[in-house]
Symmetry: C2
Subunit: 398 residues, 2 copies
């Protein structure tokens, strides 16, 4: 099963927008075990779009076109797909009514251009999820298929997860129901994780269901996708539950989150569950911790704040300084939990990339030392995740 991605929009070629959609789709396809051998960006031009999509369809079993479904004259994905299917566009009055209802709700007039968004190639089906005014669609071409989704990331993602990935998995396999779950791990290499799970992988090779796939994802760690194929929803969930607890038993607390949960959301949930609040001292991480936490908790309900400042001076080794910095954040914001990552002092004889992590939880102090990769920018990002992971483990144990 091969599926290509064609990202549509002149703004992508001009570098006004970085095409992160294709990367996200590529990751989802890889986790679902679907090969994606090419990804193409093309501008809003009929002939070039047609050529790209036709070529993709020739090389692959399915094509996902992302973008060009908006209301402006530039948005011609619908027209190109009708041409490739050899059919006319037909206005779908149910979609017109849905779009109109969205405009009514915002007390705005619906323009004729917005009506164009309801034009669907004859024989195509509309994707059920429609979070914005642009409907997605699935266009059959022989025994292959072209999906069209909007370029707005959250609209695209809802359609991918709700319709396109299940449909692709269904096309590939014979099972009636295919469901998958992503288990996120931190602190293991891809090869280390594969080794830990080796016996189970060999067993699953014989059983055939569920399947496991790995994906290294930088500061998001290594992901394991569990995919179950069965006849009904309930047994799919039962298979995934069983596999998740089996994997948890093997990888232990390296498994930090499932599906949409992130390191930030997991730590915030653990702190919230205790009725606690937390704050950070950011001499090394320089605001990166706060910007990540406030993106999840913008009203500062659990994450109370951060001090971005030079290092807390004082006696002691790196870990003692990290704890002192954590205590400073805890005191300043009157929180139950203070966290901090600090660099070595200039005269400290430790390898480059050494970072000290400190946590103060009520009156208990915790500290550890980690070795992190990369230049200043990457080091900061890894320091933030490592500190959150340390907080997660400390909270889970305590």
């Amino acid at each position: 099963m091969r599926c290509e991605v064609v990202a549509i929009g002149t703004e992508l070629l001009l570098g006004q927008i970085v095409d992160s959609n294709s990367s996200w789709i590529g990751e989802q396809l890889a986790l679902a075990g679907i090969d994606s051998l090419f990804q193409t960006k093309v501008g809003d031009n009929f002939e070039r779009m047609e050529a790209c999509i036709r070529q993709a369809l020739e090389r692959s079993d399915a094509v996902i076109c992302c973008g060009g479904l908006g209301p402006t004259q530039d948005d011609i994905t619908r027209d190109v797909l009708a041409r490739i299917m050899g059919v006319e566009l037909v206005r779908d009055e149910v979609i017109v009514a849905t779009i109109k209802a969205m405009f009514d709700e915002r007390e705005r007039e619906m323009s004729d251009n917005n009506r164009r968004q309801a034009d669907i190639p004859a024989g195509a089906s509309v994707i059920a999820q429609m979070p914005g005014t642009a409907p997605g669609m699935a266009c059959p071409v022989g025994d292959k298929v072209i999906y069209a989704v909007p370029g707005v990331p959250y609209e695209m993602k809802e359609m991918m997860l709700g319709t396109i990935l299940p449909d692709l998995q269904h096309r590939r396999g014979a099972a009636a129901v295919i469901r998958s779950r992503v288990l996120k791990t931190w602190g293991l290499s891809e090869s280390g994780l594969a080794e830990m799970l080796d016996d189970r992988l060999q067993e699953l090779d014989r059983i055939g269901n569920p399947t496991l796939a790995f994906q290294a994802s930088g500061i998001e760690g290594i992901k394991v996708r569990v995919t179950a194929k069965t006849d009904d929803e309930a047994s799919a969930i039962a298979i995934m539950d069983a596999e998740e607890s089996l994997v948890r038993g093997i990888v232990g607390d390296h498994l930090f989150a499932v599906d949409d949960a992130t390191m930030e959301s997991v730590v915030l949930d653990l702190v919230r569950a205790r009725g606690w609040r937390l704050a950070a001292h950011e001499s090394l991480t320089g605001g990166v911790m706060a910007s990540r936490m406030t993106a999840v908790d913008p009203d500062l309900k659990v994450f109370q704040g951060a001090i971005v400042a030079g290092e807390v001076t004082g006696q002691g080794d790196g870990e003692m300084r990290a704890v002192a910095a954590a205590a400073k954040a805890q005191n300043r914001f009157g929180c139950d939990l203070g966290i901090a990552a600090v660099s070595p002092l200039h005269d400290e004889d430790v390898p480059s990339g050494t970072v000290f992590l400190g946590i103060v939880a009520e009156n208990a102090e915790h500290a550890t030392t980690v070795a992190l990769p990369g230049d200043h920018r990457r080091l900061r990002a890894y320091a933030v995740i490592s500190l959150l992971d340390f907080a997660r483990k400390t909270l889970a144990r305590g």
Copy 2:
């Protein structure tokens, strides 16, 4: 003149890395007035790489291949280019010596794999800039050319700016020397800027040299690239200087930076020039200001720090609260300059997207109100840039 980009690497298709290189190259080509109609991502596979590069070369005058020049067995861009050129790979002993010197400097052993990086297709020329162990190259094919650059962003950028862009401009025009300069503006729409510069653009249409090109770049504002074509370096610089001061005269202090300077670096320079230091209060921006400033000033030499916390409570309207927050940062860090952006209170009757900016510079208070677009994430990013722009203008005037 058309130039395509082929990004090479299975990790790009799998979404492990977002292909920001192609976006950056696309932006540079657009600013240089070179059309780029397609961008393709392909995995580390000989046949598929060959097919992609051949197709790109057929459709365009030049192709930039990014990635696959490393030392591992996966890195086969050199081999594919030799096949397309119909020549053998020849080991360049000068490059071998250069790579060896890099290893010696880091006191590490050079492996045989690293020697492979010095294999160059016969007839190709090595790009002068070589910041890493992977040499870039220019491979003539008939009257067209394929450039190969490493996937490491800073290595790629140095080669693009130092060799490839000048070479492409040279290939396009007859002039011996082609130089360009990017003028960055903030606070204008692309159409507004074009209107302001309309008379000058018409004049330049007649004169033909220099040329101006526009590029909308999100939170980096609208860029204007001035390109001068002459017989020698000195007169190219004279033409660009004259055009820059002409454009400055027209757009005034909307022009905030030139070439590599950014809003952050410009504000830090202005503060440093006064012998001042600054700090921020981040109730709305939640650490995004600090993470941007500390990326440029990691040792906190000018940017002293930030308080990420809930809003400073107190009397008064939005602008008064913004000034109070700025004063709080100024006091806490003992700085000359305090800056802050705050949101409206829940009962404040202002349109969605309203943000109040406050600055305290020594004893003077400055405040303004801006209307910003987008969801929470975009609003924060725009609030940071708007506040820095306000600080820049305040410092430039004061």
